[in-house]
């Protein structure tokens, strides 16, 4: 047995909603994302287990030294449905307050980008943050995200209408490219 917690990133299991719902509904979860307080647990379970087509859900789970498993975060990757935007996905990451903008969140991001770069061959990944989330913006910048837009009056947060940042990452040139069609530019 190791003395340190080990992190596993895996796909969604049917009962993960019970561990994830309190994370999403926590003060940190509401601060970072667009969920509302007092939301129905049943609605969350439904959203998690019956997502729209093109949704990939990653779950981060810690194996604690005690041998206990603890679900600490998730990533939602949603590939655009519009045919001319199928090369693009939006990414959302929610982690437990103890691990926010730290190594665990970075590990979730790395796994999501492995999925987009090497298995889905997406060209563009978008993330939306509140415009004061510097810690997370710095982490995203380390992984090739660029701030593209400041969205004024983006969303309500605890009584205020707050601006948002739209960040996007284009697939690195080094990544394995899909076979080029003839006559491409």
């Amino acid at each position: 047995m190791t003395d340190f917690p080990t992190l596993t990133l895996r796909g969604l299991r049917a009962d993960d909603w019970m561990a994830l719902q309190p994370i999403v509904a926590s003060e940190t979860g509401l601060h970072d994302a667009l969920d509302v307080p007092y939301a129905s647990e049943e609605a969350f379970r439904e959203r998690l287990t019956n997502p729209p087509a093109g949704t990939h859900t990653l779950v981060a789970e810690l194996m604690l030294p005690s041998g206990r498993e603890r679900v600490v975060g998730l990533a939602w990757l949603r590939v655009m449905v519009a045919p001319r935007r199928r090369h693009t996905a939006t990414l959302q990451i929610v982690v437990h307050a103890d691990y926010r903008a730290g190594e665990i969140e970075e590990a979730i991001l790395r796994a999501a980008l492995d999925l987009t770069d090497n298995w889905l061959a997406l060209r563009r990944v978008e993330m939306r943050l509140f415009a004061d989330d510097n810690a997370r913006a710095e982490m995203l910048a380390r992984h090739g995200f660029v701030q593209e837009a400041v969205m004024r009056r983006y969303a309500v947060r605890a009584g205020e209408v707050v601006d948002g940042w739209l960040l996007a990452r284009l697939r690195p040139v080094g990544a394995q490219a899909p076979a080029a069609g003839k006559g491409g530019a």
Binding site: R85, H87, E148, A149, R153, Y154, A155, V156
Partner: protein, 169 residues
């Protein structure tokens, strides 16, 4: 050479299921596919189905000239913590562009969303090379908030869009 511009008598009203054939004709006209996210070879049945079964979070306006629908504007209403926001998309028949149809639709959309729905943020995406559309949106107080790189595929190339928004306090 001068271009003759005739002032049109334009009526703006809500979209009806019966408008589907005119809406299909708009998409088939001019360079509408090029400047939107529509596909060539689209199904007319799908357009009819969409107009007969409109999503609850969409509001549609059309511009009518001489009994024919020549322009369409759609508003997507966000919910929850973004309920003050709507996203806007529009298209004008290729034979009726630059004659005030877009202006009439935009006037109605701004009035509807701000004076009747309390929307304080109207947003849209437009290809960065669509100068006439960008000029129209700027006329209505939309500002460029950023450039979205490789936003969409257009005739074999990934092209950029501007994110534009009109914001009220």
């Amino acid at each position: 050479m001068t271009r003759k511009v005739t002032r049109l008598d334009i009526l703006v009203r809500g979209i009806e299921a019966d408008d589907w054939e005119d809406v299909a004709a708009i998409r088939e006209s001019g360079n509408v596919v090029f400047h939107t996210l529509q596909l060539p070879y689209f199904s007319r049945d799908k357009i009819r189905d969409r107009l007969e079964n409109p999503p609850a979070d969409m509001v549609g306006l059309v511009a009518v000239v001489g009994g024919i629908v020549v322009g369409q504007l759609g508003l997507h209403l966000y919910a929850g913590r973004r309920a003050h926001t709507a996203a806007l998309g529009m298209m004008v028949h290729g034979d009726y562009q630059h004659r005030g149809v877009g202006t009439a639709l935009m006037e109605a959309a701004v009035e509807l969303t701000e004076r009747w729905m309390g929307i304080t943020r109207l947003e849209l995406e437009v290809y960065t090379d669509n100068a006439p559309a960008i000029a129209l949106y700027k006329k209505f107080g939309f500002e460029v908030e950023g450039t979205l790189r490789e936003y969409a595929l257009r005739d074999g190339q990934y092209v950029d869009s501007y994110l534009m928004a009109r914001v009220r306090q």
